[in-house]
Symmetry: C2
Subunit: 136 residues, 2 copies
DNA sequence: TTTACTGCAAACGCTTTGCACCCAC
DNA sequence: GTGGGTGCAAAGCGTTTGCAGTAAA
């Protein structure tokens, strides 16, 4: 119920689609979801909910700094509740498993890239990919 | 003329669109191109050439191991002549500048990711992004 | 009452596919 | 002559936008 309360506190309206999406995000133990996955779960609660609304709710939650999303190559984005420590992901191209890469490792990677370029910052807003042990 | 000769050597047909695309790729000093950029340049040589054909020519060249491509988040892919040493890219989100990241750095990054996961390999088939010094 | 939010449909950008025609071999 | 390659049109995918109706405040 935390997410929806924060929406309320921001003066935004409480609606059924928003409640449903927030519930799913919170009750699933901080997993990563695609918009499509959330949409399918939401439709089981109320079949009239629309994918567009899921996207808009996710946008809102992200604006309020409550969730984050990450991009994957040739796959849809993943959304997840914001952790205190920023982290990035590594996703298996075969089975889709997503593992977290901790902040320290990510900082080291950024350092390597910054050292080799004239860049000021690195965008960690994407998901690394490869193959996990189980696959191939 | 190297690329087109290799196409011929593989028993593939030499056509005007293929010649044009190969010429552009070779005569521009190993730059990185989007399919759209190649398409625009190709149309200046023969205006009847189609984007689809550019994509198909790029696919062919990649199958023959003569070029590579890399993905970018929210942007089109970039294609470039294959270097002896595999490298990856870092692209500025503002101005689009693409800089090469050398193999050694990439290997270090892969090592960091592999150490922290149960993954067997990392896909380096994408482009890192951030902001270069000139921008923002 | 008011306007934020919704569902629906349509457009988006990049890339791929289907298909009939054509030309390199 | 034959089928590999082409241009064109249309579809694909994930996401966004426009719009008129609806309901939260």
């Amino acid at each position: 119920m935390e997410l929806i309360n924060k929406i309320k506190k921001e003066g935004k309206r409480i609606t059924e689609p928003r409640e449903i999406v927030c519930n799913i995000l919170e009750k699933s133990g901080h997993k990563h979801f695609t918009a499509e996955e959330l949409f399918k779960k939401a439709k089981k609660v109320n079949s009239s909910i629309d994918l567009t609304t899921v996207y808009r709710t996710l946008d809102l939650l992200e604006e309020l700094n409550l969730i984050e999303h990450s991009h994957r190559i040739h796959q849809s984005g993943i959304y997840f509740i914001k952790h205190t420590k920023h982290h990035v992901h590594l996703s298996c191209e075969s089975c889709g498993e997503i593992v977290n890469i901790n902040q320290k490792t990510q900082k080291q990677i950024e350092k390597l890239l910054l050292n080799e370029s004239n860049f000021k910052n690195i965008n960690s807003h994407f998901t690394y990919s490869g193959h996990c042990n189980k696959c191939k």
